[in-house]
Structure formats: structure tokens, C-alpha cells
């Protein structure tokens, strides 16, 4: 125990929590904390906008599996964190946000830069604190890290009044955390494991419906063993890309609104969904009442509120997925020894769909650049160790479809909240967490214009990320919907970003290398040029055809049975007896 002010106690607590880096911007209310930060062992990266700090913390957390930390001042500093914290909540990312608050006596008086950030974040934060007594700081920090990183991970906010940072206190970091109202279950009940194994062994058309929870639980290796054991097809949701290797013959790809025909159909026609860390999101299920109507459901998750939320679970399996899958492997061996169903016809059907309907695209006839081709080449040339972070929209779907993900934590995106502007700051955080790995942000021209200011941060702090702008001079996904559902009335989706801004010049102005490419024959050389520079951020403006669309597509609110592989073109089900 030692005497110090609240600010020093905060920084000592963060050090004790094992923080090695945080992203933030100082301001009035948080200013006392920035004095001890100045001499702390923690690396503080001064971002250009608090939203960048939040997404960077998320990117860092998604790549490392550790808690990402961001810090901001009261009022606007704190409210600028709202979007990334909501984003982290939707995608279950462990993030701790520290915010300064006006002095405790001023709280509630509409003081300068006062915002009730605890109240504002209450609907989505996993938990949050308002600290007015410096003695509470170490415990709040210890609890925040515990809550953020255990169970279903999520964002926790600690709001600290300025006077609590200034007053003297005794620093005493708790050695353990005990919360009566928060005891996430980690050990899976043995009975539910046996029930799951028995149900699997009775099923002739099972499919592994794999969600982001498998990556959060670091259970990819266990999943690999389980999938090999059963030999059933695997689908990986947008949040789970990389949880199971794309190159594996059992992997049917991504299900959902822009999923592969094979993955969507596997879920629709299965007699059993082995659901691992997925949450039956509307983008996966389509119209819920018509989703996988003949399937029984095993639902394994660490969050009890997810089990049965959208879809009844015949066998609920509550617990940490790593433990669940580890326990399921021997149980399934035992069940399969008694009864091993023949999955061959089912696998043959699914493989036939996979071969007949691979994700593909048309090369534009006018010689212009195909966005899918650019993304496909990025994946091929950079290789499977590369980390990709994407924004939200068409380029996100193409980046999920046309890059082969072989390892967990190599694909970062904003899946739940759908936050445009996620890519550049998340890539920055990812590169900080994995400095020896190539990190590409695949961004749209719309997304890029929301958060590109963090390239300055990257240039000044030796964070050499690479950014591929898939520039179709449009809010492309919205434009696609206008094409399909609004008779081509392109209301406010034309960004004109091939005219303004000049992206390579903008990149150069922020201390990055700026490149551009608009011919298919230059794509490889441009990517290789970008790959050759590793001491400066690189931005490539890929000027692509604006009419390319994302296919397949299940239109919002319709059944997955109505999947289209191109405009007004359904798959030919004639030869498929499913």
C-alpha cells in the first residue's frame, strides 16, 4: 500500500492489470491522469479522434485476445467513444474505456464538458462505473478488466470524476475479484455434453454452425478436431471467418445474407445445427420462421441469454466453448462407437452445391477494374498470415468471400453494429498488437472518409498499416439496394470520390505513401509495391467499377430458401434432392 493521488492510482492499477498499450486523447477532466501516464511503462498512442481510440482498442483486442484500452476526457471525448463501445458490445470484444468526468460537485449541474457517459453507455456496455472516491479506483479497474475479459467478452467503461483523480489515496490493487452478481459459468455440465453427443450421433444431416464465440474462446484447434471426428460440413459466420480453415474440404464458407449457396443451404436443409458460439443473427437466419425448419438445435454458448433467444435449443449447452468442445470430443467418440450415421449422401449434396455455386464475379466488359478481383489478389499475394480489417458494406462482404482465411484472429470487421469507419483505426490497433504481421485495411471510399485521420497517428507512431480503398465512388451497398429495390433511384449515394478527394494526395499529406490503380493489369504490381514498404503506412486507391454487386444475396426479411446467385437468378435446384 502506498500513498499517491487518484491519477497515479489509476495508472498503477492499469499497469497492475497488465496493460501495455492504450489509445487516447487528453482533455480537461482526464488531464490529471495524463501526468502519471507521461512516466508510465504503458505505451500511450495519441490518436486524432476518440472514435479512433475505441476502434483501435477493439482491433488490438481482436488480434491479441487481450483487453484493449482506450482513454478520453469528459463530455465530447466520452461521447465520441460511444460508437466503438457499442461496436465492441455487438461483437463481444473485451475493451476497457477510461473517461474523465467533471468534478463530483459539478456532476448534474450541466458543467462545461459534462455528459452522463455512464447513463449513455448503460444500454450496451457490459458494465460501467462512475467513480467519485479515489479509494474505489483500483477495485473498479480490477473489476472492469475481469468483467470485460471473462464470460462473453464486452466493453466496460470506468468514468472517474476529476477530483477523484486529484485527491490523495492509498493504492492497493486487489489480488482477486469477487462479484456476487457476476459469475460466468465456464465448466460445461456433463449431462448436456452427453445429450449433445447422443443427438449428433443420431443425425444424418448435421452441420457445424460456427460463430465468433469460437475465436473468442480460442477454441479453433478443438473445433478442428471435432469437425474432423464427425466429418460434417462447417459454416463460419462473418464473425467466425478463420475459426476453421477455408481450405478445409468440410468448410462450406459463410452463411447468411451474402453467404455461399452451399453454406446457406446446409443450414436450411440440415437435420441438426451444432451451434457453437453463434447467435442466430437475422443476417444469418433470414426470415426466422422459415430458417432451418427441419433442424434440431444444439446451442453451445457462454452467454445463457443467447441460448434460446431467437431459436429454441433442443440441447442447450452453457459454458466456455473451449471446455465444451474439449469435453464433446470424447463424448462424441463414445456415441459414434455405438451408432455412426452415414453422412456420405449429405456431404455429397453439399459438396456438389459448393462446386456448382462457388462465389464468383463477372469481369467488367469495359476494361474497368473489378473490386472482387482486387480483393482476391490482395488475399493471394499477402498470404494467409496477413491480418485483414474491413469497413462495412460491399467491400466487407467481398473481403469475407474472396479471401481465404486459414487462421483465427486474421479477419477483423464490424459484424454486429455495422460501423462504417471501423477499418483504419481497427487496423492500427491490430498492427500495434501484432507489429510483425502485415495488416491490410480493406476499406470503402465511404468508410475511409469517416476515420482516415488515424493515418496521421499511424505515420507518426511507426504503425505501418496498409490500406486498400475499394473506390467505387459510391456508398456501394446502399447503391446496390437502390438498384435492386428502388428502381435505380440513386438518392444520395454518389460520393464522386474518383474526383474528390484525391486519395493518394490525402495519404501523402498524412505522412503515408499514396498509390493508385485503375487497370486490372496493374493490380499485382501495385499490391507488391505496397507490400515492399514496411516503414511507412501505404494507401492504395483502387478505382473500381461502380456497378459490381454482392452475390449471392438473400434479400432482407425473406427466407434463406429465396437465395439469389445473381439478379433475378435463383440456383437451379432441379438436380438437387435435398
Amino acid at each position: 500500500m502506498s500513498a499517491m493521488n487518484g491519477a497515479s492510482s489509476l495508472v498503477a492499477s492499469l499497469e497492475a492489470a497488465g496493460v501495455d498499450v492504450m489509445f487516447g486523447i487528453p482533455g480537461g477532466a482526464i488531464l490529471p491522469a495524463y501526468d502519471p501516464i507521461f512516466s508510465s511503462s504503458i505505451r500511450h498512442i495519441l490518436v486524432r479522434h476518440e472514435q479512433g481510440a475505441g476502434h483501435a482498442a477493439t482491433g488490438y483486442a481482436q488480434v491479441t485476445g487481450r483487453v484493449g484500452v482506450c482513454i478520453a476526457t469528459s463530455g465530447p471525448g466520452a461521447t465520441n467513444l460511444v460508437t466503438p463501445l457499442a461496436d465492441a458490445a455487438m461483437d463481444s470484444v473485451p475493451v476497457v474505456a477510461i473517461t474523465g468526468q467533471v468534478p463530483s460537485l459539478a456532476i448534474g449541474t450541466d458543467a462545461f464538458q459534462e455528459a452522463d457517459i455512464r447513463g449513455i453507455t448503460m444500454p450496451f456496455a457490459k458494465h460501467n462505473y462512475l467513480i467519485t472516491d479515489p479509494a474505489d479506483i483500483p477495485r473498479a479497474i480490477a473489476e472492469a478488466f475481469h468483467i470485460a475479459s471473462t464470460g462473453r467478452p464486452g466493453p466496460v467503461l470506468v468514468d472517474i470524476a476529476k477530483d477523484a483523480l486529484q485527491k490523495m489515496t492509498d493504492f492497493n490493487y486487489p489480488t482477486s475479484v469477487s462479484l456476487k452478481g457476476y459469475q460466468p459459468r465456464t465448466i460445461t455440465c456433463a449431462e448436456s455434453i452427453t445429450d449433445a453427443a447422443d443427438l449428433i450421433a443420431q443425425s444424418s444431416k448435421p452441420v457445424f454452425y460456427v460463430g465468433g464465440g469460437v475465436i473468442k474462446a480460442n477454441a479453433s484447434r478443438e473445433l478442428f478436431e471435432l469437425a474432423q471426428l464427425l466429418g460434417a460440413p462447417v459454416v463460419t459466420t462473418l464473425m467466425a471467418r478463420g475459426a476453421f480453415p477455408d481450405s478445409h474440404p468440410l468448410n462450406l464458407g459463410m452463411p447468411g445474407m451474402h453467404g455461399t449457396v452451399a453454406a446457406v443451404t446446409a443450414l436450411q436443409k440440415a437435420d441438426l445445427l451444432i451451434t457453437l458460439g453463434a447467435r442466430f443473427d437475422d443476417r444469418v437466419t433470414g426470415k426466422l420462421s422459415t430458417f432451418a425448419v427441419n433442424a434440431k438445435v444444439i446451442h453451445a454458448d457462454v452467454d445463457p441469454a443467447e441460448i434460446g433467444k431467437n431459436r429454441f435449443a433442443d440441447v442447450p449447452v452453457l459454458g466456455d466453448l473451449k471446455h465444451t468442445i474439449t469435453a464433446l470430443i470424447p463424448a462424441l467418440k463414445e456415441s459414434l462407437a455405438k451408432n455412426r450415421p452415414d453422412l456420405t449422401p449429405w456431404l455429397r449434396q453439399m459438396n456438389s452445391l459448393k462446386t456448382t455455386y462457388p462465389v464468383g464475379y463477372d469481369i467488367p466488359t469495359d476494361g474497368s477494374l473489378s473490386p472482387q478481383y482486387v480483393i482476391e489478389r490482395l488475399g493471394k499475394i499477402s498470404g494467409p498470415q496477413t491480418i485483414f480489417a474491413s469497413g462495412v458494406g460491399q467491400h466487407q462482404m467481398w473481403a469475407s468471400q474472396f479471401i481465404s482465411y486459414e487462421y483465427p484472429r486474421t479477419w477483423l470487421n464490424s459484424g454486429g453494429l455495422g460501423t462504417m469507419g471501423y477499418a483504419v483505426p481497427a487496423a492500427m490497433g491490430a498492427k500495434v498488437g501484432a507489429p510483425d504481421t502485415t495488416v491490410w485495411a480493406i476499406d470503402g471510399d465511404g468508410c475511409f472518409q469517416m476515420t482516415n485521420q488515424e493515418l496521421t497517428t499511424c505515420a507518426l507512431n511507426n504503425i505501418p498499416i496498409k490500406v486498400a480503398i475499394i473506390n467505387n465512388e459510391s456508398l456501394g451497398m446502399v447503391r446496390q439496394w437502390q438498384t435492386l429495390f428502388y428502381e435505380g433511384r440513386y438518392s444520395n449515394t454518389n460520393l464522386e470520390s474518383k474526383r474528390v478527394p484525391n486519395f493518394p494526395m490525402l495519404a501523402e499529406a498524412m505522412g503515408c505513401i499514396g498509390l493508385s490503380c485503375d487497370r486490372p493489369e496493374d493490380v499485382d504490381a501495385t499490391i507488391e509495391k505496397a507490400m515492399s514498404s514496411d516503414n511507412q503506412p501505404v494507401v492504395v486507391d483502387f478505382r473500381v467499377n461502380r456497378d459490381a454487386m454482392v452475390w449471392p444475396m438473400v434479400a432482407a426479411g425473406t427466407s434463406n430458401d429465396e437465395i439469389m446467385i445473381a439478379r433475378e437468378t435463383a440456383p437451379d435446384w432441379g438436380s438437387q434432392e435435398l
Binding site: R118, G119, M122, P123, K126, H127, L130, I147, L179, K180, G181, Y182, Q183, P184, R185, C189, E191, S192, D303, P304, A305, I307, G308, K309, F312, A313, P316, L318
Partner: protein, 95 residues
Amino acid sequence: MAQHTLEVIVENSPGVLARVAGLFARRAYNIERLSVGPTSNPETSKMEIVVNLDGHVLEQVIAQLDKLVNVISIIEILPDEVQPIVHDTQPDYQN
């Protein structure tokens, strides 16, 4: 739909009522009646929440309530029976 009464033991700390009320509001669950009072332990308070929800939705309310860190336990009070249904910090899905 039948009325159900939930007895929710929460930490006696600022903002807990807002957390509980906010959860009902954002997930569009209606509260019929709500009362908050002390317990014999000064560190906890007791909320009695009456809802007009059944089956799956009621289960969801309880599961979501249980996720609030400040919520310690949830007991469903059954009007005509002696034994209340105890929802501890994790609902038991094993039956």
C-alpha cells in the same frame, strides 16, 4: 398472459434502478408494477417487479436481468404455491 412476480435482489448502489428499468425499456418488456425497498443487508435492495409475460419471453427477461452485474439473484414468486422458483446467478438449462 398471466402475471408473474419477480423478486430481484440487487446491489444497493446508485444507478441500479436505471439499469433495470432501462433493460425493460430497450428490450420492449412492459413493467406492470415495480417497488424497491431495503433488505436486512444494507448492501442490497429488493425489487419486486410484476410483469405480464409468459414462457419464452419471461425466460428472456430473467436471463437478461441476470446478466446485469448488479443483479445478485432473481426469484419468481408464485401466487398459489409455497415453493418459489429460484433463479440463481446462472439459469439452469439442464432441467
